[in-house]
Symmetry: D2
Subunit: 366 residues, 4 copies
């Protein structure tokens, strides 16, 4: 009882001080923990106290100045937390409830959302707000826009660690098979087994692929790929990947190829791995130039498809992914290889950026 009272007191005091620690982007290669004001939720918004978050490959791009966000922004987009305050018009929630919020937070009410293009909320990439156009999750508190559409309650039987990766990498990775409309019995090749590629492997397995070929040279990731569902892992450094994929598919090529890195080489190889009529499901973020070799698409006559997907978000998406975890269909905890406190987050960035110590994903506990 005393403890509960004190916790309540501390919380009140914390709110009273009205500042929180947060990772602020100040320009290329400049991030640091700062004390900033705790925001107040306006109509339709909610404030959550972040209990677990992580660092995404995209955050590294931001840090390096490869993806531009405005200096002064708090970055990060994968939050698990508890509801701290609710704005006017948000109903059906109570203070203290544990929630998962997707990296993509659609409003649900614009023409794009009402047309089913939730990730493109309001226009190109508009669903991605956290750590991009509004303050993000690498902080003690996070303001959630369109909270009614984005607060997904976490079932009591799931721990934070079991759900934090659903916010972005699982939702993105699994969408590869979904966007490709992968059919039961399809063969799949997945190029690159970073966090997103590993989840794409899990997604292909979930959706009924018969043969899953992962392409990866890093031995730690290759091993994890098998754990996530790959039947075969090809090391592109010592294997003629395309020949081997053709051999494994009776000379035909795969039904679905997933690009999970964002380079010309993987994109091209994904196309070359496809059978006539196959689908390239692209998850990578490309830079520079992208060219399409004509021979693998039969100069445009091969009935190929190329589909790109931005991470699906919204509370229903999060709910469905959590149900997969609950019923033992998906376990991503092996990917959370390291844990840091928010104060140590710059150390975590360094480790993650340099891919040291077999890191796949880091958990950050504010």
């Amino acid at each position: 009882m005393a403890t509960i009272f004190q916790e309540g007191l501390q919380q009140k005091q914390k709110t009273a001080t009205s500042t929180m620690r947060a990772l602020v982007f100040r320009g290329p290669n400049q991030i640091k923990i700062e004390h900033v004001s705790i925001p107040k939720p306006g109509p339709g918004e909610a404030l959550i106290r972040v209990t677990l978050t992580t660092i995404c490959g995209t955050d590294l791009h931001i840090l390096k100045g490869e993806y531009a966000v405005k200096p002064g922004l708090i970055i990060g987009h994968e939050p698990v937390g508890t509801i701290h305050q609710l704005g006017v018009g948000v109903s059906g929630y109570t203070i203290g409830e544990r929630v998962l919020v997707g990296a993509i937070t659609p409003c649900g009410q614009c023409n794009y959302c009402l047309g089913g293009d939730w990730s493109q909320c309001g226009g190109a990439m508009g669903g991605w707000k956290f750590g991009n156009t509004i303050n993000g999750a690498q902080a003690e508190y996070l303001l959630v826009p369109n909270a009614q559409a984005n607060l997904a309650k976490i079932p009591d039987d799931l721990r934070d660690e079991q759900v934090v990766l659903l916010a972005d990498i699982a939702s993105t990775g699994i969408s590869a098979a979904e966007s490709a409309d992968l059919q039961i019995g399809d063969t799949v090749a997945i190029f690159a087994q970073g966090p997103i590629g590993l989840c794409a492997t899990a997604g292909a397995k979930l959706k009924g692929a018969s043969l899953i070929i992962a392409v990866e040279s890093d031995p730690v990731r290759a091993q994890m790929a098998k754990r996530m569902g790959a039947d075969v892992v090809l090391n592109f450094e010592n294997t003629d990947v395309i020949s081997e994929i053709k051999r494994l598919t009776d000379g035909k090529g795969v039904d679905v190829a997933v690009e999970a890195l964002g380079t010309q080489g993987t994109f091209e190889n994904a196309l070359r791995a496809l059978r006539a009529g196959g689908t390239l499901s692209s998850l990578g973020v490309y830079s520079g130039k992208l060219s399409v070799p004509l021979e693998p698409i039969d100069a445009g006559l091969g009935d190929h498809k190329i589909v790109t997907t931005l991470c699906p978000g919204g509370k229903e998406r999060m709910r469905r992914l959590m149900e997969l975890v609950r019923h033992g269909r998906l376990d991503l905890t092996p990917l959370l290889t390291h844990t840091f406190s928010l104060d140590q987050i710059t150390v975590a960035y360094k480790l993650f950026g340099e891919r040291r110590d077999g890191v796949i994903k880091v958990a950050i506990k504010p």
Copy 2:
């Protein structure tokens, strides 16, 4: 100038009085115009001044007590109007803008909506609110819930009469071909050519059907069916409809059959009209019992589909339908056969209910 000033004055005075005329349902066969308070929009809501509305077949069912709504409710669900007042949190609109609001008003933010089941917002039939669970459109003013998701601006080049039928019957009718996933070149039979059936005919034409067979005995509606796109109209009173459909399709049956009445007979005939592998797209509201004859579905081995659809709503749906009207793809004004003022609405109900004077739809001007 003077006139405009006076109009402004009148409007102010009207608001000042704080009451409006509205058609109130008081129990089976009891509807009348009453003076009721003009509502005020809460967070996320909008108040519109209704400039045009209509009466739906469903309203007749409510009037007869066949579909239960609570006494005291204002009925009607097909509003065109101007924005009168905006609640907190509704943005991107200005007072006085002309808007169309669908009969179905999804919130866009619940699990159903975020899963793409907008008409089942919050649960079974939950998208249908106006004149069902909240006050409706047969009134001078209408409170629109989740206004951000439901106010569709009307392009300047479209008159109220051109868009009012999009709110319900066009959205419902056209959805028959959409839900059936009708393919270019499909043959279609549409059972009953009331307002919804006529729109289903227009929808089948829009989506690329090769042969459209309408089934209707009323000569006025039969003629209108041809205007909406039917190639052939079969009068079930003097024709063996199924034999004739088979003859017209080389003995095969149609690819898609639309049920647009809600009776056992039309449902059964729609099934009997189908080819193996065909789809029955059902729009009707059934009462009593519904039974499935086994022979036309080959005892369950015929690869048939039965799909039911509740009117799609939301502002993006309305926008898309208005674009069809704007570009000359759809003209429903011939269906608006009669016009009444709001004060005369009970006369309009009588005419519409008795199907007199070749009535198809009536326009109500508050």
Copy 3:
């Protein structure tokens, strides 16, 4: 060398004798092994020597006279065998190759097949030929129509027992999730866990269902349901199945319900188990009358779908299913609970028909 010579000799002699043993249907409750002529393949046909087959629930219906086939017909439709003779125009195969042939043998060249309705080849149920309109598989030899489209080579690493159930029950059962377009994370309820229902359970798992609820009272089958992927098995004899399904899905109902028996009760319960907007995937063969309760489909306004599916066939379907087995995605051998020789087949029919000894499927070795 001598052995090979002798085998060749025996084969020649067997052909020379020109007769084979086969189970012939002579009328209701009259089946027996008879000696009949070995057929010769015409253009486009192939003769296979059957090495393994099985008995289907449908064969029991034929035996009881509940499904009419003409007396004198050899029944059975699930053949594994080796190619014995090839008709003119069949290419790419060699004598002696092991092949699996689906229960459904589409021609691939009629309007139905070229429109993607392979099971309805040439018209209603036309793809089902074996033991229905032409001689079937419960014999030493089997004539395969449209052999080019229907002989699926068996990979060397798969035994006959691993693939024989793919011909019908696996292809049918798995199609339930496919026809319902089951999405990753969907909840599913499967009514009845006979051979087809068990495969529907496996199919729902394969396609990414989050929660699979099987409904079955037989303890042997209930246990097998768990082995095939069910998370929960409800015994309808002591459980209020619908309430329990609602409870397990937060009051919502399942996204997909599978009917795998063909009775009014299971059909109705499947509908009642659905959420608004859900899909009933029907595999059962119905007799008598089928009625649709209106409340669970919200009188036609619930955006529900009912889809029926006849077993998909053709060599590509068989190839894909075999790939699932090869890569460990599907193991149906536990369902093959008993084995009999062709001479003992009437004993097998009796055991299978009476569901004795925990029988699920019987293997027949000619």
Copy 4:
């Protein structure tokens, strides 16, 4: 009677002579009418007497040596004719029946066809046989492979001129909207209005596009585009096409863009014309290099799709397209601007290749 007798006699004599006139490709820029043997249909084949054919843009590429076929081949792939002789195993047809055969002739029985990839029959581009891998249609007689799957009977009420363009350009053009899964109310931009682009315009109209923007500088084709269904035609020589498309779509971009030429410029502009989440439906045959600008696809995060389509073929496709013509949904006769006899075909090639005299398509009568 006498006449019929004489016709029969002439036909017999013609067959007796056993040679026919045909356009033979002898190498780049070398085509001429030669006398070659009339082929005899083997099992599954049919011989048709060609009554009308045409020249395709692809034939021009072959002539220029830009698309390699082996010297000695008869080219052309758009045949209308009468059945002259049927090979073993082809049933349901009689000598003398009028038939349309698609440019693409799937076998219907290989793994690709049985998986629904009919145009990729047997592997990459394998459905395209006529004038590519086997002798083609610019001849007096044509051997049709897999005749059972490819002879589409022409209804008596349709003339040869009404159906000849369905074999290739209509089937290809219309597939643009189909492959893009164009929805009712979508906006579309179609880049280039050659024969295929014009049919893509007709297809977008057929499938329910609300606004169709064609891009073309040739005034004859621009005018024809309007006749085929374009609402607006933009001349890229004097218009900033992308700005104008954005302006016409409220700054958003189109839902579907069709590439109908096969150049880097049109491909790029098609991408730039798209809204976030939009689909590029590609019909062009590309040469050289193809690059994807990253800005219009939001570096891979814009949920865009690129789909390529090879002309759909097979008799069911032809039947469906003919039904559209029969019921007045499609009239391509305005595109047949010129007619030549087979003897004059090289003159026709010259006119067509130089795009003189407002030529769109030429009819060739053997």
